[in-house]
Symmetry: C2
DNA sequence: ACCTGAACACCGTTCAAGT
DNA sequence: ACCTGAACACCGTTCAAGT
């Protein structure tokens, strides 16, 4: 989606930088150094202007981030061949969203804004809704089902990416390691039993398993 | 959990502020104005010292936030009477965590650090693991099941709270409203059909429904 | 051991002025 | 219409010094 501003007039001073250029440069910074390092000031110097020149092409930093999300979704969300059966369609559409998000961890900062990430993602939402309805849910319950899938998907991405982010830039034992070290096997036997395998188990990608379980549960009652 | 530092010595200058006081004041700021408004500088002036005095009781701001989370979990997570049947136990433990988090939206900033929020929450994790195993899952699959429940729970909290946060401090039409306005009913019929009811549907609290569906799905294969 | 003051190296954004 | 410079009101944190 391009929510470009007013139609370009030929009057006045010719623009030296464009909104596209601003967004493209912001993307480069974020891809290289992470979203934390994207500041209006750095973006300006990287482009070769003053910070305030940016505000002519973008309302503020928040809008820049949303534009960045849109830009990414438009390029990363390629519509796949969907299977014919509705259950498979829901799974494939959700997995496609998940895959695009997983490849772009910085997105979590913006992601949580709301449930519809961008217009480019709407087609996927449509497939999920349609699949759920074809499986027998009412339209209203399909929306709730979609939301449940979205909670699960967003939660998986956010928890997973922020966990790995902290692990990398830290050499000391993680919070989790310190917590497990204090577990009393008499009081918390299951945790103590799992403590040694916890890191390996949580490193496994079980998104698809969880998604299937959730979907099965959503469809089971109907 | 109190990860208090070295044992208090009587030597040297007597402390004028304590770690407890720092955390308690930080909590007051966060409860009143949100986590964004918690800065080391404001915290210092609110206590009546200089910013740098804080760094003697807390390693840095990140550690302060984790301490804040611990502090909250210790006070908010009261262990409920759990039902005898294992499925009910899992539901009740997950719902208790969810309830505590929902009452404390600022926590999402810290929450996503990892999966075990604090030692106070471990008992609840234990109940979930134990319940899942009692329902027939292997210990490894129980960990995966717990993770799935955690993804869903964290995702619900994060999406819900950030969505309402943006709604309040903004009078213009939301991003979602703008997106729905552009939906083409021919291309995306299900979305167009749901557009009018979307806000009302997503305002409903369907966490427990989703949780039950997920749990049913997790248990179904075994 | 605990606290202070000054300073460093940053932020996002407004405002008034330039071309 | 588009861009600039200076300024405002902030940040987290380090460092050297005080008691």
């Amino acid at each position: 989606m391009s929510q470009s501003p007013a139609p370009r007039r030929t009057l006045g001073r010719p623009a030296r930088i464009s909104r596209e250029q601003v967004i493209a440069t912001a993307r480069r910074i974020v891809d290289a150094d992470g979203v934390d390092r994207l500041t209006m000031r750095r973006l300006a110097t990287e482009i070769g202007t003053t910070p305030m020149a940016l505000y002519h092409h973008v309302r503020n930093k928040d809008e820049l981030l949303v534009a960045l999300l849109d830009d990414y979704a438009e390029r990363a969300l390629r519509r796949p061949e969907l299977p014919g059966d509705p259950r498979g369609r829901v799974l494939a559409a959700a997995a496609a969203i998940h895959e695009a998000l997983a490849a772009c961890p910085w997105i979590t900062e913006v992601l949580t804004a709301d449930d519809l990430m961008s217009t480019s993602a709407l087609w996927f939402v449509e497939q999920i809704l349609d699949g759920l309805i074809a499986c027998g849910l009412t339209p209203d319950r399909a929306v709730h089902g979609y939301r449940a899938i979205w909670y699960f998907t967003a939660g998986e991405i956010i928890v997973r990416t922020t966990a790995t982010r902290r692990r990398t830039d830290d050499d000391r034992p993680t919070y989790r390691e310190r917590v497990f070290a204090d577990v009393d096997p008499d009081e918390l036997p299951r945790l103590a039993q799992a403590a040694g395998r916890w890191a390996a188990l949580t490193a496994e990608d079980t998104y698809l398993d969880g998604l299937q379980a959730l979907l099965d549960g959503l469809l089971a009652a109907h």
